[in-house]
Symmetry: C2
Subunit: 442 residues, 2 copies
């Protein structure tokens, strides 16, 4: 068997990967099957701006996820990379701590005047687990109400444990809870977004509820008074309110999306866009809550490496100078608007959702997953990585958007022919249909 390092194409390497790595990838959302089974390039050799090169050298335009939302400043931002190179030159690690973590903490608190203290980690799941540990310690109560996607840890997946011990449940499809201790059943209560009555009832019926964790915005934004209502509910019942901003942070404001709505949590987490592709995540909170971290044990060697906070610090500087959240919001709005216009021109029932800089569309049809696969298949032929979503970055300049719109409309036109029964989508697909992915709780 030849060595993996000698394999020359992405799909061949992915076949090897599946024998070496359960599931093939580290992130469900980067599985080739989520895009185009048997054809997706799977691996990259180079990335720059919004350009990506496969391991066989093929060039692609990334109109897809920009690292699943990590690179809102584009791949390889020169200023951030320069800071990371400085860290490599000067040493990424030592027996002492890196000062950059203090500078970054100070900056995050400055951007969120309601907050006083910060803990850092290197993945969003960790940041979520740290926040829950601190919030439980601060409230002295174990039960948590959740709305949204908050990672892979036991505390969260326990929401998917069913009543029947023999058959684990699927409250959130795709998040299988095998291996999550059944002891945790009932410790986490999911609630629906924009239903203030429901969460009010949950709080009333669960005096042992100490924490509410939620995303600020879901497929659609908050109804009038919803976030304010949750804030009051939490305050009145001494509940720690946590906004998970791992996905939404720095995409519509200079910090958490909650700044736009003027509602302040007790804690929030940042990830994804915070380091522009370098691993850094943060838990930001009020002193009264964060100090509870002292009553528990939250500690990891690699949280002391220096690249993460250094990249985060420079990323915040660059973002602040160019107001990247405005740029990517405008780009995202443009893409969303053009999707809708194309849908109308082609006569498709096309829906859009998400925040502007992290936008998605779907077509109202039983054949949607096939259409989605077809779109990815055809765009790939034209050298464009694309699916039914778009994560905006400042690198998505006009010329790239124009090319994307141009190519996409031709494909949507064929989809419309399928919808009208003039063509059969099954005859157009050159491989298996993409996987549906996990549905987020609405």
């Amino acid at each position: 068997m030849i060595k993996a390092e000698s394999i020359k194409t992405g799909q061949e390497l992915y076949k090897r990967a599946k024998t070496l790595i359960p599931g093939g990838t580290m992130l469900l959302s980067k599985r080739p099957e989520m895009f185009l089974p048997e054809q997706w390039p799977a691996y990259f050799s180079k990335s720059s701006g919004c350009q990506v090169w496969g391991i066989d050298g093929t060039h692609y335009l990334d109109m897809c996820s920009m690292g699943i939302g990590t690179n809102s400043l584009g791949y390889g931002n020169s200023r951030i990379d320069a800071e990371v190179r400085r860290v490599i030159d000067q040493g990424n690690m030592s027996s002492l701590n890196c000062p950059e973590e203090v500078y970054l903490a100070e900056k995050l608190v400055e951007l969120h005047p309601w907050a006083d203290m910060v803990r850092f980690a290197r993945s969003g799941g960790e940041a979520n687990a740290i926040a829950i540990r601190i919030a439980r310690a601060a409230s002295g109560r174990d039960k948590v109400a959740i709305c949204g996607y908050h990672g892979w840890h036991d505390w969260y997946l326990s929401a998917n444990l069913s009543e029947d011990e023999g058959l684990d449940g699927h409250l959130m499809p795709g998040l299988d809870p095998a291996g999550v201790p059944r002891h945790l059943k009932g410790s986490v209560i999911p609630f629906n977004y924009n239903d203030l009555g429901e969460i009010t009832e949950i709080v009333k019926n669960n005096p042992d509820l100490g924490v509410i964790k939620m995303e600020v915005s879901r497929n659609f934004g908050p109804a009038t008074g919803y976030l304010e209502g949750i804030r009051k509910l939490a305050t009145d019942n001494n509940i720690v309110l946590i906004f998970d901003e791992c996905s939404s942070g720095f995409r519509q404001t200079y910090g958490g999306l909650h700044k736009m709505y003027g509602v302040e949590p007790d804690m929030c987490m940042f990830g994804k866009a915070l380091g522009n592709g370098y691993a850094i995540t943060a838990v930001v909170g009020k002193r009264s809550v964060m100090e509870a971290a002292q009553k528990t044990f939250i500690s990891s060697t690699f949280w002391t490496e220096r690249i993460g906070p250094t990249a985060g610090l420079e990323c915040l500087k660059v973002m602040g100078e160019i107001k990247s959240w405005d740029i990517i919001t405008n780009i995202g709005l443009r893409v969303t608007k053009e999707w809708k216009a194309m849908g109308e021109r082609c006569g498709l029932k096309l829906n859009t959702m998400g925040i502007p800089a992290l936008t998605f569309f779907s077509i109202d049809s039983p054949d949607w997953l096939k259409y989605k696969t077809f779109i990815t298949q055809e765009m790939l032929k034209k050298g464009i990585l694309a699916f039914s979503g778009f994560y905006a970055s400042v690198a998505h300049e006009d010329q790239y958007l124009a090319r994307y719109f141009n190519e996409l409309e031709e494909i949507l036109d064929i989809v419309a022919q399928c919808e009208r029964g003039e063509k059969k989508i099954e005859n157009l697909l050159e491989g298996p249909v993409c996987h549906g992915g996990f549905k987020r709780l609405n």
Copy 2:
């Protein structure tokens, strides 16, 4: 208030850090109070080989922890750094996956022929939590027996939940379990190292026990037949046996310490030394166990960044070429031997423990913590970072060891004078006594 970035000394910056970061640091073992309260330099500006510079420019020789065990090849290994720079030039992230994770997985499996598959994370706590999730999913049983230190996550700290719900327990002093759901009480059973009878009894009394997780070596190595006995016990009872090699890996063999003892686990984890200061950790296991990861949800965006696996891959190459485990074992043996000899020459009851490349000493006296503080205080005056342990790296060349031995013996001589009642240690300390740290379960 001046900005943190303008603060010029480590202790001043640490004072600020404690207002911004609960606990002040990300890792308990890097808290300045663990070494020399109010005097430890706390932060570094530069590190290279076994040299460290504080943020005020002061130069130190690191005879201390080398990043708490991360840098067995020294700080700033030129080959690994070159590979990381290549990744920065070519892009650290994209919407596709990085091929280096497949190459690294293949290499780790090659080094551990009993293993077939790998998952990566970016911290040791994560790797431990992933291993437990997969092992529980594979065995279908929730209960876990543990021996050793395995991170900060809920699953592990639950061992410290006491019977009395109002008063959390301290089975492992220093690991406070506030915020760990009380539902988990009883899900983890600690056992003592080198007592085969005890773990046999635990397995007999707990038919719902599915996992045994342990360190291969503790303060002292395994008794004859101990590891073999545990292996047989696990096999006979369909229990998944996990060796936590986050600390011990690549320090005495080219891979897990278990290779030296010829006992194979079903899974093991690597961290610390795997990336020589860059964040990368791994869960390595048999296919039959690892495939259970497919029944559950383990996924994180930043586990797809490219620096970690790239650094890990090059680190393994460098280690293999120079046989670093032999080099650091010999250096560690030399330090341990010299400590003993100095103890004898000074007339101190000096004990040593640990594996050669990760060695510790203590002096049998009620004043030990004061002596430890004094040693750190005096060594710091001489420009040496030191405590009661030593993490060997290939950068610890003869000249540095000679200087260290020379300086240390003078200080131990004063300690001996205190022990004989000729001097009072209290009169020699210029600040508070260091914190005791958390005791690992023996």
